[in-house]
């Protein structure tokens, strides 16, 4: 059963140095508040998994929390480069960053295999692409029924998956809706699951298209209002596109970045 904890307690009890951590949310419902708490607690040596690293992993990478990144598209959506990610990959600052790089279809299927507790997934993917030459988690398999050669991608099973949702009830049942992305698969692929929510309510009235994660599939729920900012929570907040644009100059320079993180993350609580 999910325990309802403060964000500080939830991160302290579930996220450990050296863990493989997936913080998912495909543009929508990105768990920024939880990532900031991970940075404040100084958890390090993480293998970060996420389809679209986005500003959230730019911040974690720039603060030196990660030793490896598993991903499929690393940009600032609609704006440009992730400068901290590029600086880490190109110049090893603040530390070298190992990469395991996929396509979106490949990453999505890696989570599906992980959630299904299968060793790998198959897809028609990567054909002719150089991606397979750089990744130990992309291979091929022959279909035993038709003989077709298909791409095989290794399951991803994070130690911890962190997601943000609209709400939970007092028993820790979680409900999310809108663009639900890859969150269900990422949560069910993980050993431990931490969900931040906008609010805790008495009853989860049904919502069209909602995903419900029952309390017994989640380990901790923490209330974090506006916890997806600058991403958003449908029904509660809107995407702060101005922030995504402002992030470009903030993150371009190492010192400006560090000063921003100090003022807005390390010294905020």
């Amino acid at each position: 059963m999910a325990e309802i904890l403060s964000l500080r307690e939830a991160v302290a009890s579930l996220v450990r140095p050296g863990d493989t951590v997936a913080m998912e949310g495909f543009t929508h419902l990105i768990p920024f508040a939880a990532a900031h708490e991970v940075i404040r607690q100084g958890v390090t040596d993480l293998t970060l998994v996420r389809m679209t690293p986005d500003v959230i992993y730019d911040q974690l990478i720039g603060m030196g929390a990660a030793r490896k990144l598993v991903f499929s598209w690393g940009g600032n959506p609609g704006v440009g480069s992730l400068h901290r990610f590029r600086d880490a990959v190109e110049n090893g600052w603040p530390r070298p960053l190992e990469l395991d790089e996929h396509s979106h279809a490949g990453m999505a299927n890696r989570y599906v295999a992980g959630a299904s507790r299968l060793p790998f997934a198959v897809l028609r993917g990567y054909r002719g692409s150089d991606l397979a030459t750089r990744s130990p988690t992309i291979s091929t398999v022959r279909c035993p029924f038709t003989g077709e050669e298909l791409a095989a991608v290794a399951a991803v099973n994070p130690d911890v998956t962190v997601i943000h949702a609209q709400r939970a009830d007092r028993d820790g049942n979680v409900q999310l809706w809108g663009l639900v992305g890859i969150q269900k698969e990422a949560a069910l692929a993980a050993e431990r699951v931490l969900v931040t929510v906008e609010e805790i309510v008495d009853a989860l009235d049904p919502r069209p298209g909602a995903v419900v994660l029952p309390s017994w599939s989640v380990h901790a729920v923490a209330v974090a209002p506006n916890g997806a900012h600058p991403s958003y929570t449908a029904g509660y907040t809107v995407r702060d596109n101005d922030f995504y644009q402002a992030w470009d100059p903030i993150s371009r320079d190492r010192d400006t970045f560090l000063a921003w993180m100090r003022a807005h993350v390390l010294e905020a609580a």
Partner: protein
């Protein structure tokens, strides 16, 4: 009436969607073109975004593929595994619309790394995203790229996404089901694969652009089709629709 090279490119990219039923839309230039097509040549065009929306009808240009309006205005919102497996991989989508950092003469794409020469670290690009499987699985592929030697290159530093591989027959050999790239729309004109060689050749020029200009801005020796045409200038309606979309987006 005047227009910018980018407007010329986007208007022509939108026109390329006339007759399409469904379009898997990349963010940036492709999204601008696909949304313009819905306001001009193809009002019923079904826009599909990799964030999981089928049939988005945004009133302004989204900044990201996950803007709330894409979901709020969609016919259906599905999960990311579903969009890639059930809709794209299953061959249900007519047109894939992609941008690119580097494109070669066979319309292969690099969005992964740039080789900066010996002793220097590779330059990092965003990565593959949905492109390898969009280019493989859609019925056909349109690309929109600014015309320069930096973008249209003799040799890719890395093949992220296969267009026509190393020439005719390569797509079939690789087991890529769709027809692959059929047009690359730039701010100077339109390139299309030669039916015999699969090499991109200049088939149309925008008004006021010369074939020499296009060749000069291309990293390989660009061939010009014998019957090279000129694109129609943007109409007042097209420009008004595009500017309204962009104003609302900004």
């Amino acid at each position: 009436m005047s227009w910018t090279p980018d407007e010329l490119m986007t208007v022509n990219a939108a026109r390329a969607l006339a007759g399409a039923r469904t379009c898997f839309v990349g963010i940036g230039l492709p999204s601008a073109a696909a949304n313009l097509a819905r306001r001009t040549v193809r009002p019923g065009l079904v826009l599909i975004y990799e964030s999981g929306t089928l049939g988005s009808k945004p009133s302004r240009l989204p900044l990201s593929i996950g803007d709330g309006e894409l979901a709020d205005t969609a016919d259906a919102v599905v999960s990311v595994p579903e969009i890639f497996n059930y809709w794209l991989q299953a061959g249900r989508i007519d047109v894939g619309f992609l941008g690119a950092a580097q494109v070669d003469r066979y319309a292969n794409i690099n969005t992964t790394v740039i080789d900066r020469g010996p002793g220097r670290p590779e330059g990092r690009l965003p990565g593959a995203g949905g492109a390898p499987e969009i280019a493989a699985g859609c019925g056909k592929v349109l690309m929109v790229v600014r015309h320069s030697r930096r973008n249209l290159v003799e040799r890719l530093d890395f093949v992220t996404t296969v267009g026509h591989g190393s020439g005719p027959g390569d797509r079939a050999r690789l087991g890529l089901p769709g027809a692959g790239p059929v047009a690359v729309i730039t701010d100077l004109g339109v390139l299309r694969p030669d039916p015999e060689t699969a090499e991109l050749v200049l088939t149309e020029l925008h008004p006021g652009v010369s074939a020499e200009q296009a060749a000069e801005a291309t990293g390989w020796k660009l061939r010009t089709a014998p019957d090279v045409g000129e694109t129609e200038p943007p109409t007042a309606e097209e420009l008004a629709a595009l500017r309204e979309l962009s104003d609302r987006g900004a």
